[in-house]
């Protein structure tokens, strides 16, 4: 990357900022509190689970600005490039912002520590889509924890102020902001900090060349997992390649009965399309992380990190998805179940990365069910996640794909259970047979999320649930 920039340019509120020479693995939260002197954004957990550090990133999309709430604690500084960073300090001008006023009016702050994060999540919502009912509030605020209020007052404030788009100083300044953002320097980044290197290429070809040239580099997508390596495991990442600037990886297309999702597509962008494919997928994505996490996190990242408890892989296995992997100019395809080799170990070769996933559109008459079972319904990690695709023809099981997360070191198909169903009559006896067969497929572990016995029982019962819900 010859003509790459060596600094990050963005708007802080309405003021252009350029950061050169900073550690590219510093989080936006550390920068705000430690360098910019903006302490309104709070650190509650530093792992993207409490939302106290919620900030808003606005960026140009089409002819307007798109506002998205993000957790500043799991965002590396270069993620700001080309965007407008809005923090709680920027909201009140002459008077409180309507969102802030609503929080005061409804007595929705007690200790106040989580409040800036709620305010920013609500601010983003007020600039995005109307929040029409309590269910929408619950989804909107799933990533913001409050330990004092019990949420009722916050929910009421949100329903009041986010029911319709808010007109504020940001709306007024939109034309100016768009112009200033357009004038910011563009193009790939190549940042250095001591011996540390950070690249943000802006084309697939450059990305492929970089990954091939630096096979040890960490590939950074949304960062919802990778940032924790730095902030929680205190790892030093000396070579990072960010894929966020690669337009080809953000493509989402339907082509000949196949949905193609680029590896850089964040959950939020994929959610509507997946929900269109099947409501169960929309509901699954709604329960992955939170608004903030889905605004950063990508399905590609969820697959590439090889976690046994990622929620998308089981669903993608049930759907028969295939991955397209790229190394340099060479691509190869493989079924997603062949990608996961062992705990946190994948089929990616050195210098190779996920380019996209291809998801076949469900056949007419196919049943899809996805059940994520966790301790807390919202923003939790699965104890077990089961995904089922079944085709019933004339009362017989004509096709079946079953996959589970949380049951082994990798997300995996359940071949014995599938075998117990395929070509058999769709009745309770068959299902009971498959429930018994699950024991051949998995020997789950006990950990802080669930015991082995619970996981095994739930895995069985989810098959029964599938049958009961689709008995007719």
């Amino acid at each position: 990357m010859t003509d790459a920039r060596d600094s990050v340019s963005f708007l802080l509120g309405h003021a252009p900022r350029e950061i050169r020479g900073a550690d590219p693995t510093m989080t936006v939260l550390e920068w705000l509190r430690g360098k910019a002197g903006l302490c309104g954004t709070k650190e509650g957990c530093a792992e993207g689970d409490c939302g106290a550090c919620t900030v808003v990133l606005a960026e140009t999309v089409g002819a307007g600005l798109r506002y998205r709430a993000m957790n500043a604690c799991i965002l590396f500084l270069p993620a700001l490039d080309g965007k407008q960073l809005i923090t709680v300090e920027h909201l009140a001008e002459r008077a409180l912002h309507p969102v802030q006023q609503a929080m005061v009016t409804y007595h929705a702050s007690q200790c106040g520590f989580c409040t800036p994060g709620f305010v920013m999540a609500m601010f983003a919502a007020a600039h995005t889509a109307p929040v029409v009912d309590r269910g929408a509030v619950d989804t909107l605020l799933a990533g913001n924890l409050c330990r004092c209020t019990g949420y009722r007052s916050i929910a009421d404030a949100t329903l009041d102020v986010c029911a319709a788009p808010v007109d504020d100083q940001f709306t007024e300044a939109e034309a100016t902001t768009l112009a200033v953002l357009a004038a910011l320097p563009k193009g790939p980044l190549a940042l250095r900090h001591g011996g540390r290197r950070f690249w943000a290429p802006d084309s697939l070809a450059t990305l492929a060349a970089l990954v091939e040239a630096y096979p040890e580099a960490v590939i950074l997508a949304g960062g919802t997992d990778v940032v924790l390596w730095v902030t929680k495991q205190f790892r030093e990442l000396d070579a990072v390649i960010a894929i966020g600037g690669v337009a080809e990886l953000r493509e989402l297309t339907t082509d000949g009965g196949v949905l193609r999702i680029g590896a850089g597509v964040c959950y939020t962008d994929a959610m509507a399309v997946l929900a269109g494919l099947h409501p169960a997928l929309g509901e699954l994505v709604r329960r992955i992380g939170s608004v903030q996490v889905r605004n950063s996190g990508t399905i590609g990242g969820n697959i590439a990190n090889g976690s046994p408890i990622g929620d998308m892989p089981p669903a993608l296995m049930a759907l028969g998805a295939r991955l397209v992997l790229r190394r340099g100019v060479v691509t190869r395809e493989l079924p997603i179940e062949d990608f996961f080799l062992a705990y946190r170990h994948t089929a990616l070769a050195p210098g190779e990365f996920i380019e996209r996933m291809d998801i076949p559109i469900l056949l007419e008459g196919a049943v899809l069910a996805v059940n994520k079972v966790s301790k807390r319904p919202d923003q939790d990690i699965s104890a077990v996640c089961g995904a089922f695709m079944v085709v019933i023809a004339d009362g017989w099981v004509a096709d079946i794909r079953i996959a589970y997360g949380g049951m082994a070191g990798v997300p995996a198909r359940a071949p014995a259970a599938e075998q117990a169903l395929l070509g058999r009559p769709w009745n309770e006896a068959t299902i009971r047979g498959a429930m018994a067969a699950i024991e051949e497929d998995f020997s789950p572990l006990s950990d802080m999320r669930a015991s082995a016995a619970y996981r095994a029982t739930v895995a069985r019962n989810l098959l029964l649930k599938l049958y009961l819900d689709h008995a007719a």
Binding site: F113, R147, T457
Partner: protein, 768 residues
């Protein structure tokens, strides 16, 4: 007379909270030369340190000081009531995550990296990790205690029905959003100022002085606000503050110590988990004649506040029920885990979960409606109005309050609806429960029931107020300011409350036991009344009427048809060289409690409430949703209804979290594996039902509290026991046999309880 008290004035910091300009400890402007401290934690639960070489730590880049047990100039202990909590492990390590040494460096990163260079050898010892282990080995941090009334053994033997069983309930992480933090700034002559995020500035002051080898007067502790505390910053704030102060003294530079979330959850104490054995005797109507409770709590490695917490559990083993013959035994188990500590309710919730379990078990045994059994056992008229510890229940409103709630919540109809739903649905089941709360208000250590305040009136008529309580979000400062505004007849805007500091009000009690507004509100009222009386004297002379006829209202001082503005009277007083400043002091009257026999009157009064919860469960996965909650709660004459409702809602949801999704999980080596919100699940917005109805029960306190209000901090937490019982009710709709559902009732425990009842059916069918 109250223009301000009784209104729903907004929290005095609300406008700062929403702008991010309310300063928490880590937001304070950093003084020049600030160092950042890091505590190195033990990797073992029980071990002897056989060798420790910190030389590589001390010489690491950026490091200015390293301190371990031998480097503490004063006492190496921050035990609040009795010793046992070393600042740095003195050779013996007694829990995984215990503080071993601390590093001060130019940045937190440098301190952390340096700490990793320590060379420490441990000789591993066998840890005691569970209550059962501790009971088997008779390992206790404190002697067991017994509370006895009547002749429980004989009454149990004579009872027409008798049930015995076992239940368990988990602990709870406070999960205050702001973690523990302190900033220590050295002054001249060896003095030190500690900014702490603490519910107990006086204790931080005293323990800092003791550890640093100073007199109390050389240490100031100041707290503006906390980002949540819930009991977790009562005794637990001291360690962090004292280590910051030790390093500041050692280096002569300011030191900040802020725990990250994981270290905070590993290093600091939590709510006690309990194991309860019970044996209860009752008649065919479900009326209890005798009960025997055997409580065992996991105190962890030290006594901390466990004596008072376990006492309070014993005092709440009756909840709202008359237990004629009672034997309540309490074991305070020692384990090699973090020392458990104060948490909203302070043992009360555990005692109440126990008795509510028994009520439910009796009802299911007799096949009676659980609410009916509860109602039959409520405290009533004499002689059924005396607690097992001998205190008369004066304003016993439980029956009336519960009757009213049952009516407004439509309990009977909904009970029938639940049954109909369950009959019609194979796999989805509903449950409903109503449970009461009666909670004793006062510190059970009588001497702690005192408070001080300091009020200044300036010559522009503005009022500066300081009191010994701390603001952790509960709205204490707002309530106390309202009380003072009313004394002077001023608007709330004329009264400002500043940071709590040991310089202004000395020897304070912690802001705990729900006592904040009762104690500090009264002390502030006394201080303000002293000044008001002086001002009334001035007006009396001016207006030519007796001082008793002078009124302070709407910013005016009036009497005998004349009036002047408050400011004018203040200026007259100043010109007459009258003091416009006063302290105020209050001690709770009427407490007479004998700690030896555990009898008498440990509480000034009781706060009451009741809740109806309804749930729907998925019997295939154990997942559930709380679908509706109705609460009726007694705040006496509410000082601020909006703040009180906020306490009720927040307390309820926190209690629901404790009893449902909040699960602390230690591995076989004694390592807490749920040390962040990714693994420890407090309630989120979606866990709170959209249908959440909260009302205040209008009931002036029979005792002469400030404005006849009642304490509200802790009691509502226990309203959430209704959630656990709604889940029990839903589980009971499947299969047969006992409802084996301990807390926290995670989806896993719910499913396993259902599976157990299903297997009972299968066994019964097989037997036929």
């Amino acid at each position: 007379m109250s223009a301000v008290v009784g209104t729903s004035a907004v929290h005095d910091s609300a406008h700062l909270h929403v702008c991010g300009t309310a300063r928490y400890l880590d937001d304070l402007p950093e003084p020049a030369g600030l160092l950042h401290a890091f505590i190195a934690l033990s990797p073992h639960a029980h071990a002897r340190i056989s060798a420790m070489d910190l030389s590589a730590v001390a010489t690491a880049p950026g490091v200015v000081a390293v301190m371990a047990a031998a480097d503490v100039p004063g006492v190496n202990d921050v035990g609040p009531a009795m010793p046992g909590d070393p600042i740095f492990a003195p050779g013996l390590v007694e829990y995984h995550g215990q503080s071993i040494f601390a590093v001060a460096a130019g940045s937190i990163g440098a301190a952390r990296r340096a700490a990793a260079l320590a060379k420490i050898e441990y000789e591993l010892l066998q840890p005691i990790l569970t209550i059962d282990d501790a009971m088997a080995q008779q390992a206790f941090v404190l002697p067991s205690k017994t509370l006895r009334r009547g002749n429980p053994e004989a009454a149990l033997a004579a009872a027409p029905h008798r049930l015995s069983g076992r239940l368990a309930m988990g602990g709870q992480e406070h999960f205050y959003l702001e973690g523990q933090a302190a900033l220590a700034v050295p002054g001249e002559d060896g003095d030190i100022v500690v900014h702490g995020s603490t519910q107990h500035p006086t204790e931080v002051q005293h323990l800092t002085a003791r550890a640093l080898g100073l007199s109390d007067h050389a240490v100031v502790c100041q707290t503006r606000r906390m980002g949540g505390a819930f009991g977790g910053k009562e005794s637990q704030a001291s360690l962090v503050a004292v280590i910051a102060a030790l390093l500041a003294q050692r280096t002569g530079r300011p030191v900040k110590l802020r725990l990250d979330r994981d270290d905070d959850m590993i290093l600091t104490g939590k709510r006690h988990d309990f194991r309860v054995l019970y044996d209860v005797g009752f008649d065919g109507e479900g009326v209890v004649s005798a009960i025997s409770f055997d409580f065992a709590s996991r105190c962890g490695m030290s006594p901390d506040l466990s004596a008072a917490i376990n006492d309070r559990a014993m005092f709440h083993a009756d909840n709202a029920y008359f237990l004629e013959h009672a034997l309540i035994v309490s074991h305070r188990c020692k384990t090699h885990t973090v020392s458990n500590t104060a948490f909203r309710g302070f043992g009360g919730p555990q005692g109440m979960v126990a008795i509510e379990h028994v009520m439910d078990a009796i009802a299911r045994h007799l096949d009676l409606e659980p609410l009916l059994v509860r109602q039959r056992n409520f405290y009533g008229a004499a002689p059924r109005n005396v607690t097992p510890y001998g205190m008369r229940v004066e304003d016993n409103i439980t029956s009336a309050l519960v009757a009213k709630l049952a009516e407004t919540a439509d309990y009977a109809t909904r009970r029938a609806d639940v049954s109909a739903f369950n009959a019609a649905h194979l796999w989805r089941k509903r449950g409903i429960a109503l449970t009461p709360v009666k909670f004793g208000i006062s510190f059970t250590l009588t001497q702690m029931n005192q408070a001080g305040a300091l009020v200044h009136v300036y010559t522009d008529g503005s009022v500066l107020l300081n009191h010994g309580g701390t603001e952790m979000g509960q709205g204490l400062n707002t309530k106390v300011a309202m009380i003072v505004a009313d004394v002077f007849g001023l608007s709330l805007a004329r009264v400002k409350i500043t940071a709590t500091t040991t310089e202004k009000v000395p020897n304070t009690s912690p802001t705990a036991a729900s006592s904040g507004s009762d104690l500090n509100g009264r002390a502030a009222q006394v201080a303000a009344e002293t000044i008001r009386d002086r001002l009334a004297g001035v007006a009396s002379a001016d207006f030519g009427v007796p001082a008793e006829q002078i009124r302070f209202m709407d910013g005016l001082v009036s009497g005998g048809g004349k009036s002047q503005s408050f400011v004018e009277i203040v200026r007259s007083a100043y010109r007459q060289r009258l003091s416009l400043s006063s302290t105020g002091f209050y001690r709770t009257p009427g407490l007479a409690y004998d700690a030896e026999t555990m009898t008498g009157r440990p509480f000034f009064y009781f706060a009451y409430g009741a809740a109806v919860s309804e749930v729907e469960i998925d019997t295939l996965t154990g997942e559930y949703r709380l679908t509706r909650v109705d609460i009726l709660h007694d705040c006496g004459r509410s000082l601020n209804p909006a703040i009180d409702i906020g306490q009720i809602e927040g307390g309820f949801v926190q209690g629901a979290g404790w009893l449902t999704t909040e699960e602390l999980w230690w591995d076989e080596r004694g390592r807490l594996r749920t040390h962040a919100p990714s693994t420890y699940k407090i309630p989120a917005c979606g866990d709170v039902p959209a249908d959440f109805r909260v009302a205040l029960y209008h009931n002036e306190n029979v005792e002469e509290t400030v404005h006849r209000a009642k304490a509200v901090g802790e009691p509502p937490l226990m309203l959430a026991i209704s959630v656990l019982h709604a889940l029990r009710d839903a589980v009971a709709s499947v299969g047969s046999g006992p409802v084996a559902l301990d807390a926290p009732a995670t989806p896993e425990r719910v499913l396993m309880a259902i599976e157990s009842r299903r297997s009972q059916v299968a066994l019964a069918e097989a037997a036929e």
